[in-house]
């Protein structure tokens, strides 16, 4: 899907993404020439259909250039300001349950990265199996070594 600024006959650029909020994602597009902005607000089904492709939506740090000729004065500056303060410009569309956080087990950064490298639909079950193994064997932290021992334990 692309958005066109009709007066400028120019493609609008994605500036920010927020949500999902109750299944809805808000995507703000702006014209680089005139600065005019629009917001696309998805319903939950639209969010889900795109999320089913396993993608993240976001401008990837792209900057909008050029002076504003926006009929809505200050829109571009406001968008730029928001982009500067936004912690992350992309939104992962939620198609899988996040693994439940553990109360008693810590994960090392390396072990977490390995977990992140497997498909999100598999992650909750994998995490549960690993943490059960860790608890049963008295580990307080899940490290790469614990992951490797769990694999051996299950014959992998």
């Amino acid at each position: 899907m692309k958005f066109l600024c009709i007066p400028c006959d120019q493609q609008m650029r994605l500036r920010s993404v927020t949500g999902p909020d109750r299944g809805s994602v808000s995507l703000v597009y702006a014209c680089e020439s005139c600065g005019y902005g629009i917001a696309m607000l998805t319903n939950a089904h639209e969010t889900q259909v795109v999320g089913s492709l396993g993608v993240q939506i976001g401008p990837g740090g792209e900057a909008v250039a050029g002076a504003s000729k926006c009929p809505v004065t200050g829109m571009l500056r406001e968008l730029d300001a928001r982009a500067d303060t936004a912690p992350a410009p992309t939104t992962a569309l939620p198609t899988a349950s996040a693994p439940a956080p553990s109360d008693d087990l810590l994960w090392s950064r390396e072990a977490s990265q390995r977990l992140e490298a497997i498909p999100d639909l598999v992650r909750p079950m994998a995490r549960e199996s690993i943490e059960r193994f860790a608890r049963e064997h008295g580990y307080e932290q899940v490290t790469e070594q614990v992951l490797d021992r769990a694999r051996s334990h299950f014959g992998l």
Partner: protein, 293 residues
Amino acid sequence: MKTYHDISGDGGSRVLEQVGALRARVAENLAGVKRRVAIASGKGGVGKSTLTHQLAIASARRGQRVAVLDADLNGPTQARIAGLRATPLLPGSRGLALPRSSAGIGVVSVGSMVPETTAFDMPSVAQGDSYTWRATREFTFLFELLASVEWGKLDLLLFDLPPGAERTRQYAEALGADTAFVLVTVPSALAQGVVARSHAALVAAGAPARGYVLNMSGYYCAECEEVKVLFPDAADAVELPLPCLGRVPFDPELAELCDRGELERYDPARPAARAVDEIVTALVRTKATGARP
């Protein structure tokens, strides 16, 4: 006013780019796989899954490195057949570790992550109406598995497909020209009608099947050591316009071993095992094995 095709790029959403990147990761991760064969039918209950695993075992006995991807996400059976229901899917060193059966066959199946009493749930922000997005999510998950499982070097990767003529076509389009299709039927007009329709769907997709297997072609009686008639003559059955790669008789012992997850213990001298071994030979002879160019 400009049209869609006058504009390059997507304005920053990067949706197509990410979909393309996933497909590229699939190709990269399958670079060590020599041949891919999808076992399909269109018809349910004809023995696709059992035959898929039999082919894996027969190929492994020839020294081939083999893995099976259970692409039937909603009705997975490969984990049970391979005795891997209690083996969870876990992270490996750089992706998803490949579970192996006692015969050394790699098996990836939703049956290793979801108990048989539970439906394979795909969480959604939408309430209901899963028909609008579920198939897309399933194929994305299939690609994610292909891209992340540590397949390593394989001589053969078999896909056990779900039933449904239209699904068969979708899998042909998703798996691409590097995957050869083999159809499975049983000697009944009912089944062969559906399988013929599936073949037509594959032809429409530009991916005609390389051949078919006539499963349950008879009933093997161990007491009298004879293959007897199982299905009556299907005089008005549609003739499949494909080479028949082999006929595999039904053997109750095979079914029992499948249920127990001990298929590799099936005696290779019994008629069904010999028939499957001949199919492996036929697949190699007819090059019906999706060899990568």
